[in-house]
């Protein structure tokens, strides 16, 4: 893939004060960013480097993913995140997974990959090919809630609801790992999810209740 060469020297003020100064890499050679690379990249397809035998993905590439048990074909670039695929590239889109921080800080985009909780904003979609992805839509439905979802409703573990899908998925992962988590374990396993309305107390109760239900105990 080629990049448009950047002018070596730019207006100083521009270099320092433009909205995001386009420093490239850690090496200190402060070259500018390539602005039209996307246009070129999408013309290219996945190619195998004949010399190295290494598979190289470049530009628009069709990949097959397993989402909630269904095989889905989708066109992505190497840089496309799993979150972006779910929310904007799948047809129909799976918008239950939320974008909040887009930086791996908040947990609203949590999905399961290979059964483990991950931030879908920090996963390149191409790297989850062949690995099962489970999103919030892959658990219960409104008229057929999972034990976790049921417990969130019963304990008011939600207010505005924007963090809720992430919390539900993280809880499913936590309970897969710990069948009977104590209060500290619940806090530890959900520490990657943030809520702004302040529903944590309801969430903690919901997790405890769901774990009891899943163990076969009464509520």
């Amino acid at each position: 893939m080629s990049k448009t060469p950047e002018p070596a020297a730019r207006d100083e003020r521009e270099a320092d004060l433009s909205r995001r100064s386009f420093l490239k890499g850690a090496g200190g050679a402060a070259a500018g960013a390539a602005f039209v690379q996307g246009a070129q990249a999408t013309q290219e397809a996945a190619v195998a480097d004949p010399e190295a035998g290494v598979r190289i993905l470049s530009g628009a590439t069709e990949i097959e993913m397993s989402v909630n048990g269904e095989a889905r074909k989708v066109t992505v670039e190497p840089r496309t995140t799993l979150l972006s695929v779910l929310r904007t590239r799948l047809e129909p889109a799976l918008t239950g997974t939320k974008e909040v921080c887009d930086n791996g800080n908040c947990g609203a985009c949590t999905v399961l990959v290979d059964g483990k909780p991950v931030y879908s904003c920090l996963q390149l979609a191409v790297t989850v090919q062949g690995r099962p992805v489970t999103t919030i839509e892959g658990f219960g439905k409104p008229d057929q809630l999972s034990a976790v979802q049921e417990a969130f409703c019963a304990n008011d573990g939600l207010m505005c609801g924007f963090c809720t899908p992430g919390f539900v998925v993280a809880t499913e992962a936590a309970l897969a790992k710990h069948s009977n988590p104590d209060a500290d374990t619940i806090r530890h396993e959900l520490a990657g999810n943030l809520c702004r309305c302040g529903t944590y107390d309801g969430v903690f109760k919901a997790v405890a209740e769901a774990s009891a239900v899943r163990r076969g105990g009464a509520k």
Partner: protein, 328 residues
């Protein structure tokens, strides 16, 4: 994030062949779990033409005891695997505690040992794209006279970052080595030497890894059963944060006497900071005759705080005391 091509080598040799020779050539970047790299890409802190994913390289994801008395932890071992019961012997508890303290379950599911050791700093200026800081090729370390609450009190200058890894102090305290493989084969060095201070080398980087080398594993000597270790980390937000300060401590004690001690501080310097003067106050002493406060003071001796981070001195002293108490 800018576009890049992604190469998916299936062997270490293939991966290494794709890497540049020049350390200042950032056009190709390695990715393990990608949990740090993706934030760098999203923040436009780096914009490589090519990202080389190690995900398809076999043999890097296991924890294996060696006959030579070490345990090899592959670079692609995920952080949650270190947390798992029985993954490591009890004497290496500091590693487990460090792993467990990192970020969040979602990050630990994906983030790797290699990635954690090689992650880039969290300094607010380094991470803010608008700030053309020293580490990004600029002329100024803005933290020095700017908002430096989270920056270094030891080893600073000309850059004042702190190294963000939690595993690093724990592994240094347990005398781990790193194994690096490049075009010329494998080399080994102590993890302590793997990191360098900004004044000791190119300010843009933190480690001695050559651009075309891959960190393949960490080897930790299996400490004697009389050793106990701990990692105490202070996070401003307990739920999910990097260390404001941390202490890794390992003590080998026999009949109440300290045979060897290592104390390594995290979050206070551009590399894991070994507190040798404090260690010296412990070795040969009976635990009940140790002056815990003196050890703590010795650990922080020589600190040179910036305008907003003098608090790290008493805070870290406190952590040293707590770590010592938890091992006694």
């Amino acid at each position: 994030m800018d576009s890049f091509s992604l190469s998916l080598p299936t062997s270490l040799d293939e991966a290494i062949a794709r890497l540049p020779e020049d350390v200042f050539d950032s056009s190709v970047q390695l990715m393990a779990g990608g949990q740090d790299l993706l934030t760098e890409l999203k923040g436009y802190l780096t914009a490589p033409d090519e990202v080389v994913s190690l995900g398809g390289v076999p043999g890097l994801d296991s924890i294996q005891p060696h006959t030579n008395g070490t345990i090899a932890i592959g670079a692609l071992v995920t952080l949650d695997a270190l947390e798992a019961d029985g993954a490591l012997p009890p004497a290496l508890r500091a590693i487990v505690e460090a792993a467990s303290s990192i970020a969040s379950p979602q990050i630990r599911s994906v983030g790797t040992v290699g990635g954690n050791l090689n992650q880039r700093p969290r300094c607010w200026y380094y991470r803010h794209e608008a700030a053309p800081c020293l580490k990004k090729g600029g002329a100024v370390c803005f933290a020095k006279d700017g908002k430096n609450k989270y920056n270094a009190i030891f080893g600073g200058g000309p850059s004042y970052i702190v190294h963000p890894s939690d595993l690093a102090p724990a592994l240094v305290a347990l005398n781990a080595d790193v194994l690096l493989t490049g075009p010329g084969g494998q080399r080994r060095m102590s993890l302590e030497d793997y990191y360098y201070l900004p004044r000791e080398g190119p300010v843009a980087f933190e480690t001695r890894r050559a651009a075309n080398e891959v960190l393949t594993s960490v080897e930790v000597p299996v400490a004697s059963p009389t050793t106990s270790s701990t990692y105490l980390k202070f996070k401003e937000r307990s739920s999910y944060d990097w260390a404001l300060s941390s202490v890794a401590m390992a003590l080998d004690m026999e009949k109440g006497v300290v045979r060897s001690a290592s104390i390594v501080l995290g979050g206070v310097a551009p590399k894991p900071w070994r507190a040798r003067a404090a260690e010296a106050l412990l070795v040969g002493k009976r635990m009940d005759e140790v002056d815990e406060l003196a050890v703590a003071k010795a650990a922080l001796e020589g600190a040179e705080p910036l305008s907003d981070n003098a608090y790290k001195v008493p805070l870290t002293e406190g952590l040293v005391r707590r770590a010592f108490r938890s091992l006694s």
